[in-house]
C-alpha cells in the first residue's frame, strides 16, 4: 500500500501530467490510426473469407470442394490459436517484406492484420449464418445468382449484425495494439510500457489505461448506435 501511494505523490502526478501533455497526443493518434487501418485491412481480407466460409459450405449456396474448405478452416483456427505476442515475432519476415522494417507503428499493422483477419472471417461467418435461410431460398426462387444473393441479399440483410461484430473486432484490435506497442510498435501501449513497466512511473501507465478505456467506449458506442440506427427491423 505504501509502495502504491508512493507512485502517486504530487510530484509523480505532475510528472505524469507533463508526459500526458507532451507524448500522449502522438501516442493517441498512433493508436487510433493503427487500430483503424488494421481493422480496415482485416475486414478487407476477413469479409471475403467469411463469405466463402458460408457460401462454400456443404449446405451453402455454392458448395466448394470439401478439402479446400477443410484447409481454410484449419488455417483460420491455426492463426487464431497462436498467441499474439508470438505471432508478432513469427510474422517479422513478412512485416519486413511489406513495410521494410519490423519496428514502429506502421510495421505493427502487419501482425495486427494477420491476427485479426481470421477473427473477422469468423465474425462475418457468424453474422451471415444468422440470416434466415428462407430469405436465401426466396432469392433463389426468383432466379438470383450466387453473386446476387451475396451482394443483394446476404450482406445488406446482415448490415446491423456485421457492424456490431466489426465493432467487436475494432475494440479487440485496440487491445492488441498495446501488445504490439510493447513489441516495437508505437502508440499508447508503448508509452504505458516504457514509463509504467520500465521506469516504474505507474501514474503514466494508469493515465494511458484511462485513455484506452475511453477510446474503447467511444468506438463501442459509435458502433452500437450505428448498428441500431441502420437496423430496419426495429419499429420506430
Amino acid at each position: 500500500m505504501n509502495q502504491f501511494a508512493k507512485a502517486f505523490t504530487p510530484e509523480k502526478l505532475s510528472e505524469a501530467w507533463h508526459v500526458f501533455l507532451t507524448e500522449f497526443p502522438l501516442g493517441l493518434w498512433e493508436t487510433v490510426y493503427v487500430t483503424l487501418l488494421a481493422t480496415l485491412f482485416a475486414i478487407l481480407l476477413g469479409l471475403p473469407l467469411g463469405i466463402l466460409l458460408v457460401t462454400g459450405d456443404e449446405k451453402g449456396i455454392r458448395p466448394m470442394p470439401k478439402p479446400l474448405m477443410k484447409v481454410i478452416n484449419v488455417l483460420i483456427n491455426f492463426l487464431r490459436s497462436v498467441p499474439f505476442l508470438i505471432l508478432i515475432v513469427m510474422v517479422i519476415p513478412l512485416t519486413r517484406a511489406i513495410v521494410g522494417t519490423s519496428i514502429g507503428s506502421v510495421a505493427s499493422i502487419v501482425p495486427l492484420v494477420v491476427a485479426a483477419f481470421p477473427f473477422v472471417a469468423r465474425l462475418v461467418e457468424s453474422s451471415l449464418r444468422e440470416l434466415d435461410p428462407n430469405i436465401i431460398e426466396m432469392a433463389q426462387s426468383m432466379g438470383a445468382s450466387t453473386w446476387e444473393i451475396v451482394f443483394r441479399v446476404m450482406l445488406p440483410e446482415s448490415v446491423p449484425s456485421l457492424i456490431t461484430n466489426f465493432t467487436l473486432a475494432i475494440t479487440t484490435i485496440l487491445g492488441y495494439t498495446a501488445m504490439s506497442g510493447a513489441m516495437g510498435g508505437g502508440g499508447l501501449g508503448k508509452i504505458a510500457i516504457n514509463y509504467g513497466y520500465s521506469r516504474y512511473k505507474y501514474a503514466v501507465l494508469y493515465l494511458a489505461v484511462i485513455v484506452l478505456v475511453l477510446l474503447v467506449q467511444v468506438f463501442q458506442s459509435i458502433g452500437t448506435r450505428l448498428a441500431s440506427r441502420l437496423d430496419k427491423r426495429i419499429k420506430k
Binding site: S141, R152, P156, E157, K232, K235
Partner: protein, 343 residues
C-alpha cells in the same frame, strides 16, 4: 399447363435414403387454382419446390407447356423462375429494405431500368391494396400486410404461375380469408395459374377448383374439389375432410356391431329426417355414433356413422333404404357376419 410426370424425390439422410415423393403424376391446367393438401411430412413442400426446380427431382420430369424444366440451362432456369414465382409461409421479405424496394427486387434481378421498376412496383402496391406503404419497412407491417407485399413482389415479373407454399398458415382466419380473396381476384384478372400448398382444408375449399391429396409422398386422390370432398375415397382425404370421422374409425373397430357410413351431399338431404324416417318405415332404430356437416364450394356435405342393431338382414334392409335416398352414398364399414367369422 404444368405436368408432373412420374416425379420422385428422395433425400439422403444419416438414417439412409428417405422418399419424399413417389411417382407423382399431376396435370395443372392454365388458370387453375390447384390445391395440394396433406398432413405435415406428406411431401407438399418438396413437391412445390420441384415445380420451380429449387429441388431437383430424383426421377421423372416437370413439363411446363411441354418443356422439360429439368433440362434448362442456367440462364433459362433464371428466366423460368421469373415466370414461376413463389410466396411463402414466413413471407420472406427483405427486412432491411422498404416495401417498394422489396417489390423492385425481382425486377432488379431482371435488369429492368430503375424508373420503370419503380413505376411497376407502385402499380403493384395498388393491386394489393397498400399504396401508402411504399416507404414502410416490413417490420412496421402486420402479417397480412407483409404477405400482400410478398404477393406484389411475386407478381412483379408478370409470372404465369404463382406457387403458394402454406402462404396463409401463419395468418389468422380473417386475414387468411382476405389474402385468399386477393389471390382469387388476381387469378381472375390475370388468368395466372395458382398452385396452393396447404394443410388446411378451409383454404382448398375457399379458393381451389382442383385438388390433389398427398400422403407419404404419393397422390392418393385427385380431381375437382367438390367431387373429391363430397365423396372422399381415400382414408387420408376423409381424415382431412372430416377429422372427427377419422377418429371414429377406432370406435368402429372396437364396438363389434355393424356400422355403416352415410355420406350425403346437398342441403335438401341435410334437412331430410332420414334416420327418423328409416325408423318409421323399416322399424330399424339406428343409433348415430358420429356425424358432421361441412360446406364445400357452396354445397353442404356431411357424413354420419350409424350403428344398425340386429343381424345381416337388418343391415341389408337399412343399406337398401338409405341408398334409395337421392344424394346419399352408403358404405358398409363393419359387417356383423364378417366380425363373427373373424372371431
Amino acid at each position: 399447363m404444368i405436368e408432373l410426370r412420374n416425379l420422385s424425390k428422395s433425400f439422403v439422410t444419416s438414417d439412409g435414403p428417405v422418399d419424399a415423393l413417389r411417382h407423382v403424376n399431376l396435370t395443372v391446367k392454365d388458370g387453375d387454382i390447384y390445391g395440394i393438401i396433406g398432413m405435415s411430412g406428406a411431401g407438399k413442400s418438396t413437391l412445390v419446390r420441384c415445380i420451380n426446380m429449387l429441388e431437383r427431382p430424383t426421377e421423372g420430369s416437370v413439363l411446363m407447356d411441354g418443356r422439360d424444366l429439368g433440362a434448362l440451362s442456367k440462364k433459362e432456369m433464371q428466366e423460368m423462375r421469373r415466370t414461376v414465382t413463389m410466396i411463402f409461409q414466413s413471407f420472406n421479405l427483405l427486412m432491411q429494405r422498404t416495401c417498394l424496394q422489396n417489390i423492385m427486387f425481382p425486377l432488379k434481378l431482371a435488369h429492368m431500368p430503375r424508373a420503370q421498376a419503380e413505376a411497376r412496383a407502385r402499380q403493384l402496391l395498388e393491386t394489393v391494396g397498400l399504396p401508402d406503404k411504399a416507404n414502410a419497412y416490413p417490420a412496421q407491417l402486420s402479417g397480412g400486410q407483409q404477405q400482400r407485399i410478398a404477393i406484389a413482389r411475386a407478381l412483379a415479373t408478370n409470372p404465369k404461375v404463382l406457387l403458394c407454399d402454406e402462404a396463409t398458415s401463419a395468418l389468422d382466419p380473417k386475414t387468411t380469408h382476405a389474402i385468399l380473396e386477393l389471390i382469387r381476384q388476381i387469378n381472375r384478372d390475370t388468368g395466372i395459374t395458382v398452385i396452393v400448398i396447404t394443410h388446411q382444408m378451409s383454404v382448398v375449399q375457399e379458393i381451389c377448383n382442383r385438388v390433389a391429396i398427398l400422403e407419404n409422398g404419393t397422390v392418393v386422390e385427385e380431381g375437382d374439389v367438390s367431387q373429391v370432398f363430397s365423396r372422399p375415397r381415400a382414408a387420408a382425404t376423409r381424415a382431412l375432410v372430416f377429422p372427427e370421422m377419422a377418429e371414429s374409425d377406432g370406435l368402429a373397430a372396437e364396438s363389434g356391431s355393424q356400422l355403416i357410413r352415410l355420406i350425403f351431399e346437398g342441403a335438401e338431404t341435410t334437412q331430410n329426417p332420414l334416420i327418423a324416417s328409416m325408423a318409421i318405415d323399416c322399424g330399424i332404430a339406428a343409433s348415430i355414433l358420429n356425424a358432421s356437416t361441412r360446406a364445400v364450394g357452396g354445397r353442404v356435405y356431411g357424413y354420419m356413422l350409424l350403428d344398425i342393431p340386429g343381424g345381416p338382414d337388418e343391415l341389408a334392409k337399412a343399406v337398401k333404404y338409405l341408398s334409395g335416398t337421392p344424394d346419399v352414398t352408403v358404405q358398409v364399414e363393419v359387417e356383423y357376419a364378417a366380425k363373427e367369422a373373424g372371431k
